[in-house]
Amino acid sequence: MAEKNIPMREALRQALREEMLRDDRVYVMGEEVGQWQGTHRVTQGLLEEFGAKRVIDTPISEMVIGGAAVGAAMAGLRPVAEFMTINFAFLALDAMINHAAKIHYMFNGQFKVPLVFRAASGWGNQATATHSHTPEPIFAHFPGMYVACPATPRDAKGMLKASIRDENPVLFTESIALYSKPGPVPDSDEFVLPIGKSEIKREGKHVTLVTYARGVEWSLAAAQELSKQGVECEVIDMRWLRPLDMEAVFESFKKTNRCVVVEESLPLYSFGSEIAAQIQDQMFDYMDAPVKRVSAMDVPLPYAHDIELMALPNTQKVIDAVREVI
């Protein structure tokens, strides 16, 4: 497939645009998605192209953004509702967990809820404690809604298209730090990635790095550095926190017998906890060392840039963790 080098925000925009062209039930709704062209410019140009019927600017009302998307999806539309950042999705937790994720089950399959909640996640440019969450794992705690967390423009496009086409609700998070990063993206409107499938982003035989979203970048950088020192890391981008592709992790672990989990999130009751717990459970006899975790520090994120950076994971912390297991 021919490819073009574009930033993630553009890949996401392509996905939205292509799906809106393909299926006129698909529409976009959220704060500043239209006239403002999207806070993160993901929806740029869509209002002009598709008009106000399909690109809907909303008030600052996360509860109804979340809940109206559920109702519209039940009624046969395919809303893509944007939360400007995932921090504001806290206000829609009930709509997402008690409604989007439960309705198909609770009414025994009578309704489907084919919607996508898009939300910008993470940060690292001094957005402070209330605006710096990466709470994907807590949303993925609950059954009924998939959670997608792409790491590259290519994945962003393929996974967003898959999410829009799927019949289930999907929380689709986008790392703010990745929006501007370019990468090759297939130049086809039929490029769709499967739901729940991880990808090996780098092959290696000594240690398995299990990660997602922004963690992929740190992991790949660490792998490159470590490779110079003779340590070959296999980097698995989970891509989806639900469904969780543990088979791929186990496959790799059987080869490497060592693992470091890398996540932008807080450490407790989190992504790393789950991966580590499953590995020790299923791969006990293959373990040559404990699974180590690289996470954000267990503090609210501060404003000052120097200490903010201390709190966040980075390449060096990944390298250090790998050194601990080999």
Binding site: T58, P59, M63, V64, G67, A75
Partner: protein, 324 residues
């Protein structure tokens, strides 16, 4: 205001009696531990509001409500059997035994369900209405709201949202004066709830006597006509819950004894309609009793059906978590 035919009124009478009997039977079954779910909220006392309102819309229109949902499901035409089966958590229930009393729904009746998070269904109503407009239909959505729910953030955001996009929703507050044990005047800084319409620029159709089915019908009809063409309306229907908040609320008839007595004696919707049928349409007691007998039979059959239905099994437990 169009004249309402005798047959229509008789049908409304039938519906009222059906609901009342159904709920009374649920209450008994709960006490007999045949219905075991902890939550069971009866519609007894509210019948005229539900019947009048739903008579004002068509089959293609949509209805959504909170957990006090049995009566509305019956009015919408859902058969009593799968409803009663749902109460008992049976596989043959409308929601396969997975939803229970608070989560009845029937897609094919455009009855979008009961919802147990207070206020949680209001944005869903807005979304369904958005779909109606999106698809260029002139269908409308009736959304019932408890008085207590009007103080929740969902109410504010949903009503405002509906007006911005001129969504075809008839918002009906079923004001039974109380949410669990809290009186409207203790829960609402301003207790005349329909006046909140102005905060959103929504057409205010004010208060209606929720125990008089004809009045409810006429007012909602007006709202439906407006909503089809223009946008949302708000109606406050004054009604009363006869059986406490839920069946487990055992103290209400002591707590609210005088008030309850007043409503039952002076504002009983079945009596009001029966009187109308008798004085204006020459219906006699025998005819009415025949209707009652018929409904009792339907309810009894539903109980039989439910009792004899199978429980869900391990496969049901894991089915429909996701659309496969």
């Amino acid at each position: 205001m169009a004249e309402i035919s005798k047959n229509t009124l008789l049908d409304w009478y039938r519906q009222m009696v059906l609901i009342r009997q159904f709920e009374t039977r649920c209450d008994e079954l709960y006490r007999d531990k045949k219905i075991t779910g902890v939550y069971l909220h009866l519609y007894s006392g509210h019948e005229a509001t539900g019947i009048g309102a739903l008579a004002a819309i068509e089959k293609r229109d949509h209805v959504i409500t909170a957990y006090r949902d049995h009566g509305l499901a019956l009015i919408r035409g859902v058969d009593a059997k799968p409803l009663m089966a749902e109460m008992m958590g049976k596989r043959t229930g409308v929601s396969g035994g997975k939803g229970g009393s608070m989560h009845l729904a029937s897609r094919k009746h455009n009855f979008w369900g009961g919802y147990a998070i207070v206020g949680g269904h209001l944005p869903l109503a807005a979304g369904i209405a958005q779909a109606c407009r999106y698809n260029n239909t002139d269908e409308v959505v009736i959304c019932f709201i408890g008085d207590g729910a009007t103080n929740n953030g969902y109410f504010h955001e949903s009503l405002n949202f509906s007006q911005i996009y001129k969504l075809p929703v008839i918002w009906i507050i079923e004001n039974n004066l109380v949410g669990m044990g809290t009186r409207i005047e203790d829960a609402s800084g301003q207790p005349i709830l329909h006046r909140r319409a102005d905060a959103y620029g929504i057409k205010d159709l004010e208060r209606v006597d929720g125990q008089n089915v004809v009045e409810v019908y006429n007012r909602v009809k007006e709202g439906v006509e407006y909503a089809r063409r223009e946008g949302p309306v708000l109606i406050e229907s004054m009604t009363y819950r006869y059986k406490g908040h839920g069946v487990s609320d055992r103290s209400y008839d002591k707590r609210l004894a005088d008030e309850l007595k007043d409503w039952v004696e002076n504002k009983e919707p079945i009596t009001i309609l029966a009187n109308l049928l008798k004085t204006e349409h020459g219906v006699d007691d025998h005819q009415l009793e025949a209707i009652v007998d018929q409904q009792l039979k339907i309810v009894e059959e539903s109980v039989e059906y439910a009792l004899n239905s199978p429980d869900p099994d391990a496969d049901d437990l894991v089915r429909n978590v996701y659309v496969e």
